[in-house]
Amino acid sequence: MKNSLLLIMTASIAFQFLAAFMAVRLISLSGAFIAWMFLAGGFIIQAVRRIFSLLNVLAGQTQGDLTLEVMGLLISIFMLLGIWKFGPLFNEINRAKEAMREKQDELLEINLKLEEEAAERQKAEEALKEREQMYRAVADYSYGWEYWIDADGSFRYISPFCKDVCGYDREEFYRDPQLLKKLIHPDDRMIYEQHFEQAFACSDSAAPIDFRIITLDGQVRWIGHACRPVFDAHGNPNGRRSSNRDITDRKLMEQQLHSLNAELEVRVTRRTSELAKLNKELESFCYSISHELRAPIARLEAFSKVLTECLDDAQPDELSHLASRIGVSSMRLRSVVDALLQMNRITRSELDLETVDVSKISRQILNELLEDAEDRIISISIATDLVIQGDRSLFGICMQNLLGNAFKYTAQTPYAAIEVGESRLEEAPVYYVRDNGAGFDMAFADKLFEPFCRLHNDSEFEGNGIGLATVYRIIERHDGRIWAESAPGKGATFYFTIGE
């Protein structure tokens, strides 16, 4: 009996110490150091108290009560089991705690990610906004009438500058897709419509076109139009992007340039033909001079040869004829040279314009001519107060030639008559010198004023063929015209104007 009691008591003590040990061990699991230390201390004090009871039993001082000791053992066992069971509990709690912490970490991570995403989205939104702003600035502030148009003519976008060009607000274009077609000049509408159809049919960059529009305030302006297709992300056609530029100034300049060019062309053609005419005249003049100078020289040469050959058996009258003809040839040579010099002077000298009394000059010239030919009887009629603005000296030469011709060509006319007068041609004064002399065939009228041209041979009327050429140049220098009317044997009338 005592042995059982001792065994129970020893087991109780062992359990008490075990419980204390386990309580201390639980500190590492659950913390709560002081609580567990107090509990462990309680268990140890309990065990020490049982040891004292055991020692008392062993010393025989007490008998010990088996029931109480069994109950004590049971308490120790329960306490140990209780402590024992705390371990798994705390383990469980710790595990739950751990799981919770892990869950918390996970949540934190997700949260962080969400925050990052939100920031990114905001950044993207800002970038989008900025880009939108940029595109709008590029489009809305473009210095041109820019638009994006659909195949049905409706506008996806139209830049506000359209108002500067055509006077209509862009809202009006959005409202009425046909507005653009309506304001194109009726003559150019076909060009635009063909271009529009072609452009949408071929989905390609159609060739640019120019057309006119009528602006809101009724002005006609030129537009340079160019467009290209727009494709969406999948490469499908998505309307056309077009630019309308105001090219009115350029067109006006082109038109001016064109008309200037045309004018220049006309002027060049005219100058060229004038120059060609002058060249031809000069050529024919040189040709004539060469003949007119050589002819008297050849004559002189020939006469000298004749003289040499017939010196031995020459008759005095023959010699006298030769001598007189040599004189005539020399004079002819001199007269040609003088005439050329005079013509050169007429062409080059400055005009000294003054009021010239044609009536008076004509009278003087005819008087002088009559003085040299006393046997001539001529009926003379000179209109009074014929006055022109011209160069007195040149005009004197002109009248000298005209009246000299009239005098010469009436030499064989029985009742010679010379008339100087004035008539009207389209209100402008036309002066004339008329005679009833030999006249000429109008078939040769175009040659009449050519230098050295002669319509009569020397046996009929002598002359060097330079008189009318001189007259022509003098009238030409006075900005006038000269022409003649005549028929063989019916006299001739020379008309001229001054300062046309």
Binding site: H291, E292, A298, A302, K305, N457, D458
Partner: protein, 137 residues
Amino acid sequence: MTVRLSDISVLLIEDNCDDEWLARWVMKKIGITDVTIAHDGQEALLMLHGDDPNGIRKSCSPDIIILDLRLPKIDGLEVLKQIRQVDRTKNSTVIILTSSEDPDDKEVCRKLGVTAFFVKPLSKEALMKLNLFPAAL
């Protein structure tokens, strides 16, 4: 068959009386005396191609035509062209006698077939050198 120069008839187309006198003088020296004168191109063509409408001259058929190039009314080159265009005269012997030796004129005359192109004054040596009457010789 001998042809005497005195049998040769000449039409001298010359407007200047001195040149006419000088040409006649040279021709006389070599024995040509049958010389008719035309004073301008129109008169010459009338004489060669038709009767003078005034009935003064009948048309003539000279053996040799001596032609000045510078003539009143119708000039020498035009006269030569018309001589060559008309059957009656297209084979006539034509001698040009001019004051100036213009190369263009010379070329036109060569194309129109002239026997000689003389620059005034006419010399009897030059005239003598020509085979003046080939058709009859």
